[in-house]
Symmetry: none
Subunit: 417 residues, 2 copies
């Protein structure tokens, strides 16, 4: 079963506002196994809206309109629905009574006449009372499918949808149930992930696989469809295992948790403490780690050094290293990571030093050069990166690499033992 | 003149992701006087996409598609455009050469064969080189109007659109011209801003005013419309001056630049160096400052301390202060800010200490309590905040306050002199 969402409101077509109701609605619909196949954002224009409703009803059984059912003259969702369905609007005086009650309860003046516009209901539709606003929703159902007219403000639509639309939707018969398995992958480019797992997921037609790339990370979502949830789960998990076997330890979680959370969980389990020394990432590694609740169990602290003096005085990088190799070097990164471990008395240290740009590159160390070091009792390892793109991209990729190197180091320790 | 935006990508139809490119595009189009009348979000489905393109081109002269032009098999925007326009795709070997160069420049392995999909171009379209990704954009124009195929990632589409699409759009003839004046405001709640400036902007009917609230900041955008850009500019700036007069020094910029950029500009101009000591904000202040290109001119460094030992050893907070007042106290914050100044030899120091949660609150210092200290040669000032909401909200608000306190401190210094 599929659904379409039409978000109505000229303000949603300005640079300043977004339709966020559809995120809430999509989540609730997905939980029932209903796919959202299209979202449209459209102004308060009766003709365009009517066209949109006709088109959406032509392709999906469920159409949800949000917004445009308020009292003012630019609210024309009711009229557009009436046009699209060729059904009249009937005046329901009991709605006006409710609106009047609400307005006097809020201690306002007499109800403005214009509020009566909200008492017009599509012939044959059920009225959905709105506990948090004056405009009631409407639920219309015929052999073409369901059309909902719902209010726009999140605090009105959310409780209304949960208490009145969801119970009605649950009564529909769904031929399928869904289950989604997710893997998150670090350290591989999207094209390589797709090339390696494409043949695997393409062979499983009962699963819709989506690959989502963000800086330094790939997510693989595998949504299976079957007669029962248990069966869907079994199908999704079977594919997930095959995909994970192909990608190996690049997969850092099956639980849809961020890399830094995985890392801190491993640290907590093994009582490993972490210290950070950052130059080009400027606090981003510390920021990521401390974003996780409970980080304080393992995270000891960080030093961000933007000068050679600070690297010497605070992190104990030797003057000779800085002179011989420069601040952006394998050797400096290694000493920074060791220095961080020492000053915070931590078991695991990580460090970054590099050129994030836009200025400061040279032939020897061009823009985007970053050294990332990870140190523990067994020694130090340093990776040299060359990251394309602007300052923020360099910082983000270096941060992701640092977090992933720490994770790999802890896992590698198992192998070494 | 009107435009429609079609955001392509099945991930944009999940509860986890939104199309944000359309906000950027809408702003740029509006500045040219082009109204966006519809936005559609649709999955990677060739047939639906082709239908959507046909429909959009039927009602608007400008149609912009974002996403779905990557290398993987689910990227079908090129094919859908080809179907909708009944035009073939031609293979451009020179694009493959560019992609190969890019991939080898990034130090990766050999180009995956699948990347060649990105070298197919709608017959008659101009290729728009993509400086930040492998997939080039495409600009197609016929007597029905303009169709753009643009990449999905914001860091690719934004520079590509600015450098290649905007100059082409500017050559079109427009009946109206627009100018937007913007003010950014820190330290005031949205309701107060709106209450104070509502009467001012409501009186100017030639300007569409939008108020945008984000954590710790309010943006006021004033878009004027007139026959010429100069006239529109004059109208917008006149209103902006009135609004600024009402809000005073809470306005931190007229240039639409972030607070941290304003702060660093002041520091650079006055040769002031900055050092940071963070506890509950966990590196976020440093991260914000170092995100700005050229931060290294003023930013010396930061220490993130998550333990008392680190506060003592690295920031020289006295044991007595920690014992008598605790780590989350006015006194500790003050000593941290002074300590940061001292160890980095900086003129301005800032510090945060607080309880971001979800655990760790007490009756005396409940969750959300944060002390922010700013220190310079004249002494220290400390603000006590009580921030509602989750861990991230506490961290964000404390960071914004720290940055704004530094700005106010530097401006206050003028008044004191």
């Amino acid at each position: 079963m599929t659904a379409e969402i039409i978000a109505v409101g000229s303000e949603l077509l300005t640079p300043a506002r977004m339709d966020t109701n559809s995120l809430f609605l999509t989540q609730k619909l997905n939980e029932l196994g209903i796919d959202v196949v299209r979202k449209t954002i459209i102004g308060d224009d009766r003709e365009r809206l009517a066209d949109e409703i006709r088109q959406a009803r032509g392709s999906s059984r469920i159409v949800i309109m949000t917004g445009g059912i308020g009292p003012t003259l630019d609210d024309v969702s009711r009229e557009a629905a009436s046009d699209a369905l060729s059904r009249p609007l009937d005046y329901h005086p009991e709605i006006t009574v409710e609106i009047e009650k609400r307005i006097s309860r809020l201690g306002r003046h007499k109800m403005a006449e214009i509020n009566k516009r909200q008492a017009y209901v599509l012939r044959g539709a059920d009225v959905l009372p709105n506990a948090n606003g004056t405009a009631p929703g409407q639920w219309f159902e015929d052999d073409r499918g369901i059309l909902m007219l719902l209010p726009g403000p999140p605090r009105e639509i959310e409780p209304l949808f949960e208490t009145q639309c969801l119970p009605r939707l649950r009564k529909l018969e769904f031929p399928h149930q869904f289950y989604t398995a997710s893997l998150r992958v670090a350290g591989l480019p999207e094209s390589e992930v797709d090339e390696r797992i494409g043949p695997i997921y393409s062979a499983e037609s009962r699963v819709a696989t989506t690959i989502l790339a963000s800086p330094g990370e790939i997510q693989v979502h595998m949504r299976a469809q079957a007669a029962t949830t248990a069966e869907a789960r079994e199908i999704a998990m079977a594919l997930s295992k095959l995909v994970e076997a192909e990608l190996g330890s690049s997969v850092f979680t099956r639980e849809n948790e961020p890399l830094e959370a995985v890392l801190l969980r491993i640290c907590r389990e093994r009582k490993i403490s972490v210290a950070v020394a950052e130059s080009c990432t400027g606090g981003k590694i510390a920021e990521h780690l401390t974003a996780i609740a409970g980080a304080s169990e393992s995270f000891r602290g960080a030093v961000v050094t933007y000068t050679n003096e600070a690297k010497r005085n605070l992190l104990h990088v030797s003057s000779k290293t800085l002179e011989d190799h420069g601040a952006v070097s394998r050797e400096t990164a290694a000493e920074m990571a060791q220095g961080a471990r020492r000053i915070f008395e931590a078991s695991l240290g990580v460090a970054t030093t590099g050129i994030a740009g836009p200025d400061g590159g040279s032939d020897k160390t061009p823009l985007g050069t970053v050294f990332v070091a990870v140190a523990d009792d067994d020694g130090v390892e340093v990776d040299e990166l060359h990251i394309g793109g602007d300052r923020e991209r360099v910082r983000v990729w270096a941060t992701r690499r640092a977090l992933n190197m720490m994770r790999r180091r802890l896992e590698g320790r198992d192998e070494r033992l």
